[in-house]
């Protein structure tokens, strides 16, 4: 034990001023960086368990950056309990973690690794994030700083957030009743033919009855719509990772619409009042950004996951569509919280299914990292759209928006018609 301490002290003399100089140039906590670099050397020397190293600094990371790059728990990953004995960020090694006998060769290895370790971690701090994205089942990475997006309270696409809202949609329960669509239309005052949630009714070749797939905004972590937006109007909200549009910044170029592989965006082609819409409630979220309801003329709209509700402690974890669903098919909440409604539903259904529950995310191979998890089988490429048990007309809704999107007659046509009459 004393051997090790001596060796470490000797090490510190040589690399610490140099590491501090590098870290001082960054915006981040120099002491924390030095502690991490020191423990990284211990990992390199085999003196410290890698998992323990990861968990040791979690709290300090959260303090410093407010985020944690955990993979989503809803995919069935359980989060290991943090070792109660270890204290985060203090740089001290719990007695149990340190081998009592350390060979001279290992100390030399740590010495050699010191330079690389300090530089490596300094660079990671500079970048503010770890470069690789964890896959499901990969070891949990350490959290990094979150890159800000464009605009107030936003986060860049691809960043992992501590709180990431999403949904679990149970296709085995959905009966295509369109209650969710109707509720969304009333909540948001949507123009005629604008369907933010759209429920596909389809059949596989072997099917007799239709299947249903409610297609809401997937609130992707790597949202293509956010990436392509030339103004920053389309953004991810820092507080919960919801993908929203700032109605006062959007220029209506519709790049988000063509870039979204799910086709969830619906544009406001004309005056909403003229086309059976018009939202009259509070549009602004806690940041003061107008994100709610049917968008104004010339601005892009889409399913928003009821963003004002998620800020209200009384309504958090609800949405108009979710409340309306009598089949208990839609569940909204923080996918990183094991106790959120979507994760509870997922856990219960997993248990019922004996751990063998099919789940999928839509077009996952496109790399968008969507935050809706569907329970059931994905539609195959042979799936054909069919008429469902309920039609949009049954609800007084218009499915073919183009039929109601006629512009006014131009003056020359009115003149020629007037002449004929």
């Amino acid at each position: 034990m004393s051997d090790l301490r001596d060796g470490q002290d000797h090490l510190h003399e040589r690399w610490e001023p140099w590491a501090r100089a590098i870290l001082d140039e960054t915006d981040h906590d120099t002491d924390l960086g030095v502690d991490i670099a020191r423990d990284a050397q211990r990992v390199a020397a085999g003196q410290l368990d890698e998992d323990e190293f990861r968990w040791r600094y979690e709290a300090a990371y959260l303090d410093a950056f407010g985020v944690d790059e955990r993979p989503q728990l809803a995919d069935g990953l359980t989060r290991p309990d943090r070792d109660a004995d270890s204290t985060a960020g203090d740089g001290e090694v719990a007695a149990a973690d340190v081998p009592t006998v350390v060979s001279r060769r290992r100390v030399l290895a740590a010495l050699g690794g010191a330079a690389a370790g300090a530089l490596f971690f300094g660079e990671l701090f500079r970048q503010g994030a770890f470069a690789s994205t964890p896959g499901i089942g990969d070891p949990l990475p350490m959290a990094g700083a979150v890159r800000p997006g464009a605009g107030p309270g936003t986060v860049a696409p691809g960043e992992k957030l501590n709180v990431q809202y999403g949904m679990v949609i149970d296709l085995e329960r959905c009966d295509g009743c369109l209650d969710c669509v109707q509720a969304c239309v009333s909540e948001n005052g949507l123009s005629e033919g604008v369907l933010w949630p759209y429920v596909f009714a389809y059949q596989e070749p072997e099917d007799v009855d239709p299947r249903y797939l409610p297609r809401l905004c997937q609130n992707c972590t790597r949202a293509p719509c956010v990436m392509v937006c030339p103004t920053g109007a389309r953004h991810r909200r820092l507080a919960d990772g919801l993908v929203l549009t700032d109605y006062e910044v959007c220029i209506g170029c519709r790049y988000c619409q063509v870039a979204c592989p799910y086709g969830v965006n619906v544009f406001q082609w004309g005056d909403p009042e003229t086309y059976g819409g018009g939202f009259e409630g509070e549009r602004r979220d806690a940041r003061g950004v107008a994100v709610k309801g049917d968008p104004p003329k010339g601005v892009m709209g889409k399913c928003t996951f009821c963003p004002l509700r998620q800020e209200d402690p009384d309504q958090r974890g609800t949405a108009a569509c979710v409340d309306a669903c009598s089949m208990d098919a839609l569940h909204i909440g923080d996918l990183n919280d094991p106790d959120s409604p979507p994760n509870r539903h997922l856990a219960r259904r997993r248990e019922e299914a004996g751990g063998n529950l099919p789940t999928f995310r839509l077009l996952e191979d496109l790399g968008t990292e969507p935050n809706i998890i569907y329970i059931g089988q994905p539609p195959s490429s042979n799936a054909e759209l069919v008429e469902g048990s309920w039609t949009y007309e049954d609800w007084g809704l218009t499915e073919d928006r183009r039929a109601v999107l006629e512009g006014p007659e131009p003056w020359f046509r009115r003149m020629t018609q007037g002449g004929r009459a």
């Binding site: 464009a150 860049a156 937006c229 103004t231 619409q257 799910y262 619906v266 544009f267 499915e399 006629e406």
Partner: protein, 448 residues
């Protein structure tokens, strides 16, 4: 025809070939009745477009035939985006011709270089106009794009487009100003008085000995432009608007860059030929713009059209042979659309005519050569609009394949092309009265 204002300060003694210069300066100054008719026609075209645009601003983009893709079976991008691509493509003519002259010493093209540069400026202005036309909230374009540009530039191809097109415009305008200053200084006294404020502005800080330095600056600018325009504009950020999106298999993939560039160069040179032909006829510049110019340019049009056709072959073969399902669907849709084959047919005709011309040079006919060179212009406008629309109709999310879609541009959308053409016409009509549209003596240094 038109008269030129002459004065005692005639600098003819400094000009090596006075007859040539006089011919070039002939159109300047007082308008002819034909010129007035042309301006009137273009003015009517512009007015028609403006009333259509006001109609669109009043009622919103609902007056177009655009719609929402997905369950609503429409296309959010259509004729405006197709036309935008087309105009940026035409804007390549100026720099290609100028660079050929200045960098590669292809002196034969010198007489049409400035016309091509003027066309570039007008075409780029139209490209910008089409971006604004396409927007739902055009009044926000500056206030929304600028504040977040440092962030959006990291990921948004549309932000890249705005920056590169602006850069291209500024560089081209600088280049044109540099080369035009010497000509204006030289023909001082022969220029119409009415444009004096413009000349004074263009000649700010002019010194008699600046010519060699201005030439060197123009050379470097041409070099910068010849790298920027093909590789990063039409072979870069314009196709990347589409080629980077995996959700639309008809767009995704590396072939778009080369295909866009080949299309741009074919249509740009076709446009330059058309323009040169019109000016040559109207101002009887048969001596100035030799037939060799058209022979040469038509060969390049043919070559670029051929490259474009070859890249279409690549697309069709890779899309139809054993591609992933969504890619096959997009390629099949393309291959079964008659408009696509009309476009390819027009390009093939241009290639065939070039081949014929090369085999039988004695059978050269100027009018026919220009007519065939204009075919790629028509073809590329059709093909680009189709490319935009079909990409959106066959997405990776193939459940939407069951939603029927269709799109034809509305009268408002089509009126925009009348307006854009009128803008080019008006710009050139004014330019021809104000500045020499052929460089007075490109290659010779200032005679001290």
């Amino acid at each position: 025809m038109t008269t030129t204002t002459s004065s005692a300060a005639d600098t003819a003694s400094q000009v090596p070939d006075d007859g040539r210069v006089a011919t070039i300066l002939r159109p300047l100054g007082r308008p002819s009745w034909r010129w007035l008719v042309a301006v009137a026609v273009a003015g009517v075209g512009l007015a028609w477009f403006l009333q259509a645009w006001v109609f669109q601003l009043q009622h919103g983009l609902v007056v177009t035939n655009l719609g929402d893709w997905g369950y609503a079976g429409g296309v959010p991008w259509g004729f405006y985006v197709g036309s935008f691509i087309w105009w940026v493509g035409i804007a390549h003519g100026g720099i290609i011709v100028s660079a050929a002259v200045r960098l590669f010493r292809m002196e034969a093209f010198a007489p049409v270089a400035r016309l091509a540069e003027l066309l570039t400026l007008a075409a780029l202005a139209n490209a910008g106009l089409y971006i604004v036309l396409h927007l739902g909230r055009p009044e926000r374009v500056v206030t929304s794009i600028l504040p977040n540009l440092p962030q959006t530039l990291q990921t948004s191809p549309l932000a890249w487009d705005v920056v590169v097109i602006t850069l291209y415009f500024v560089l081209t305008a600088t280049y044109l100003t540099l080369t035009i200053r010497a000509d204006l200084a030289r023909s001082a006294g022969r220029l119409p008085r009415v444009f004096r404020p413009i000349y004074r502005l263009l000649l700010v800080g002019h010194r008699p000995g600046e010519r060699p330095k201005a030439e060197r600056m123009a050379w470097w600018l041409a070099l910068g432009l010849i790298i920027l325009a093909p590789f990063f504009l039409h072979g870069g950020v314009i196709p990347w608007l589409f080629a980077l999106l995996p959700g639309q298999p008809g767009w995704f993939g590396p072939v778009q860059g080369p295909a866009f560039l080949a299309a741009a160069l074919a249509s740009a040179l076709g446009a330059v030929m058309l323009l040169a032909y019109v000016f040559r006829r109207v101002y009887r510049w048969e001596q100035l713009i030799d037939e060799q110019v058209f022979r040469g340019l038509s060969r390049w049009v043919g070559l670029f059209a051929l490259i474009f056709l070859w890249l279409q072959l690549q697309k069709l073969v890779t899309g139809l042979a054993m591609a992933p399902e969504a890619t096959t669907a997009a390629a099949t849709a393309m291959a079964t659309t008659p408009t696509y084959w009309v476009a390819l047919g027009l390009l093939a005709a241009a290639v065939a005519h070039t081949g014929y011309q090369m085999l039988a040079p004695a059978r050269f006919h100027l009018g026919r050569t220009v007519a065939f060179a204009v075919l790629p212009l028509v073809a590329i406008l059709l093909e680009k609009t189709l490319f935009v629309v079909e990409g959106l109709m066959y997405p990776a999310f193939d459940l939407y394949d069951g939603v029927p879609g269709s799109y034809t541009p509305s009268w408002v959308e089509l009126s925009s092309m009348v307006g854009a053409m009128s803008i080019v016409a008006l710009f050139l009509l004014i330019a021809v009265k104000a500045v020499p549209v052929i460089e007075l003596d490109h290659d010779q240094q200032e005679v001290a």
